[in-house]
């Protein structure tokens, strides 16, 4: 997630802060959990807070994601964040609204989300992708290296390849949308170049994430 221009993690943190503040302002309980971070440098979990006054601690928690170096602390295990989400669902007693900020570029998310939905959580999937993932500009022969898992893929990027990539991407996003609608979840595909204002006042209310 710590990738892209604008950065996906930073974008997720800002969006989470905004939505968290909305929740706190309406006297809801808010907890925040970072999925897929191993190291001790960053706190992984913000225990439940309530009321506008707690907003500062929420901001502090999310701010740490942006300002501190989280890179090395990221999990090398591709399934780890999804597994962490499953664990979260299993350990939380009171089901409520869950907002997942993720690029979903891993396996294992769908079983974990299934389980959350099954337990009565009202799930919203905020699918955040950066511009270079949506419209990659590549030309020539490349060995593409995964920034998280360091796995590599060799390919010759040309017009055809890029067109097929876009097809795969569109299919993938469509399958996620179908998955979410089928389970009564909210799904919103977000690109990090969008403005928070537009999201908060237009896209999120439209999708029913914000009411």
């Amino acid at each position: 997630m710590d990738w892209g221009e604008p950065n996906k993690l930073e974008f997720a943190a800002r969006l989470a802060a905004a939505l968290g503040f909305v929740a706190l302002a309406s006297l809801d309980r808010v907890t925040a959990t970072v999925l897929g971070i191993n190291g001790p440098a960053v706190r992984r979990h913000l225990p439940s807070v309530r009321g506008k006054r707690s907003a500062l601690s929420l901001f502090e928690f999310l701010g740490a994601l942006i300002h501190e170096e989280v890179g090395p602390a990221l999990s090398q295990n591709p399934g780890a964040p999804a597994a962490a989400l499953g664990a979260y669902g299993a350990t939380t007693h009171q089901p409520g609204a869950v907002l997942l900020f993720s690029d979903l570029l891993d396996n294992g998310w769908q079983p974990a989300l299934n389980r959350l939905a099954g337990r009565g959580f009202e799930v919203s999937v905020l699918h955040i992708l950066s511009l270079d993932e949506l419209k990659p500009e590549l030309e020539g022969d490349f060995r593409l290296i995964d920034s998280e898992t360091e796995q590599s893929v060799e390919l010759t990027a040309n017009f055809d390849t890029l067109r097929r990539y876009k097809d795969v991407l569109a299919d993938w996003q469509a399958s996620w949308r179908t998955f979410c609608i089928a389970r009564n979840m909210h799904y919103l595909s977000i690109d990090t170049s969008q403005t928070l204002e537009k999201l908060l006042f237009s896209d999120l209310p439209q999708q029913g994430v914000l009411r």
């Binding site: 990738w3 892209g4 996906k8 690029d103 570029l105 891993d106 950066s130 270079d132 993932e133 990659p136 590549l138 030309e139 020539g140 022969d141 490349f142 060995r143 593409l144 290296i145 995964d146 920034s147 998280e148 898992t149 796995q151 590599s152 893929v153 060799e154 390919l155 010759t156 040309n158 017009f159 055809d160 390849t161 097929r164 990539y165 795969v168 991407l169 993938w172």
Partner: protein, 644 residues
Amino acid sequence: MSFLAPTAFFLAGLLPVILVMYLLKLRRSERTVSSTYLWQQMVQDVQANAPWQRLRYNLLLLLQLLFLVFMILALARPFTQAQGISSQTVVFIIDTSASMTASDVSPTRLEAAKDQAHRLVESLHDNARVTLIDAGQETRLLIASSNDHLQVHQAIDELQPGAAGSDLEVALQLAAAITARQPDAETILLSDGNVTLPDRLAIHGKLTYLPIGLSGENQAISLLNLQPGLEGGLTAFATVINFSEQAEPRRIAFYADDELAAAFDLQLPPGSEQSVLAPDLPGSAQKVEARLLPAGPAVDYLAADDRALATYQPGEPVSVTLASPGNLFLETALSLFPGLPVTQVNPGGVESLPAAGFTILDGITPITSSLPAGNLLFIGPLRSTEYFTVTGTLASPVPRAASEDHPLLRYVNLEGINILDSARIPLPAWAQPVIVASDPSDPTGEIPLLFTGQVDGRRVAVLAFDIRHSDLPLQVAFPVLFSNLVDWLAPGRSGVPASLQPGAPLTLLLPPSAETEQITITRPDGTTDHPEIHNAQLIYTRTDQLGLYRLNLSDEQAYTFAVNLFAPGESQISPTQTLNISGVPLTTQAAGQGAPREWWRALALIALGVLTAEWLVYHRPTLSRLYRQISAGLDPATKKHGYR
């Protein structure tokens, strides 16, 4: 199809090299991306681990292989055998004489010859050196040994038919000189065969004659003459010849100053000649034109000889002095010429002869004084003069023509003329022989009996024998010959002939008063020429157009003369299928096994096209981005919202 350089196919070994280089292309640049999750899904079916699949959609590779294939094919120089000429040095001689305008081959013989020449040039080897000779009234070397075939095609297109005959002697000698040192040479002669040929020719390589033309059907006006008739009118005399093999009905019409004045229907038997006399034409006519018109289903393929022009200008009378001891034949003959005032002088007056239009010195020559001014006719001179030397006498000479078709011997039959004796006069340098006799004692083997020429600005004719010592005056030839001589010596219209053959030069002695700068000649097409003038003699050679010419000597003095195709050789248009030139084996077939036609240019061009396509494909993303940027820049709507 075969190949000139099949070794080039070894280059096909480069094809697998390109393939291997593609397979081994390991220079992949590394790029870190956020996640390979989607990329992996995408490349699952094209996963690079299967090398052949990697090549599957590679347009660039395909284009590169294609380029190499076409280059190899081009380098191997494929060729196909074509009908044509295989020689490396080819000389085309194209006959552009008047008979080549005959329309028995559509559109004309010359066009057909040009087409054939075009086809032959196309079939030539690319490096073959081509020479093009235009054999018309004069021989012109248009292209000299060039391998720029485009230029040859252009020169062929620009060939124009002439109005006169064609002498192939110069053209063939030129061809012989060009092909002399070439190992593999061929001379191609495109003609209808109605040409003058050399008697003997030594030509290197092959000489091919391609006859052009199918039919000889033609009728021609071969003569048109105007004479003053009775009561101030004019009488036209025309001769029509039918060259066809069947009888043809024709009509001959005479136009006086473009007004129809007389017309006659003729029934012309095959190969016949018919004379027509049209009396009582208006005497005021500046020009008389005779036209051969159709009068039934006649076939006439040559139009140039169906029309003739003549002019009549009475001109100023020419005075004649006859210095003679008394010669009834001469006196009678001279009296028959209208408008020729004759002054007779006895031998006693020979030392003080007056200047005259021309002077006849019959058996006497002045001893002490010089010869009188004007043209001169010597008959049987007894002693030498400043123009010739008498070296003795010749007994019983047998006269014969020095050359065929000499204008002075027109309609003159020399057979059966007996001469008792003649003065022996070696031919002077200024003179041309007209009638000669054999003389074993002379180094040249012959001695002239009649010679003519121009010397010191005057015309001089010398008849070496005394006509009273021969039976010539009793022959039909005498009045004709004498009339021709008088016409030549006393040109009625200041020396301007009534009619000239196309291409024949007009020569004229100018009066001393003539202003040479003012002299112009207006051609039938209306253009004006300034003729050459040397030593008061005018020489004009551009008589290549048929029609009426106007010679302006000064503002008051102008003469007209006509150029007519009175040439039986050209009117006789039936094509000759074989030509006989001794010493030359002549073929009449275009070469069978032709030059190989090479295809490498086309292949190289395709290879270039493939290379361009490869370049475009290689830069396709850049080009399409550029295109999008340009179209976005042009579209104001996109501009407003910004471009993503």
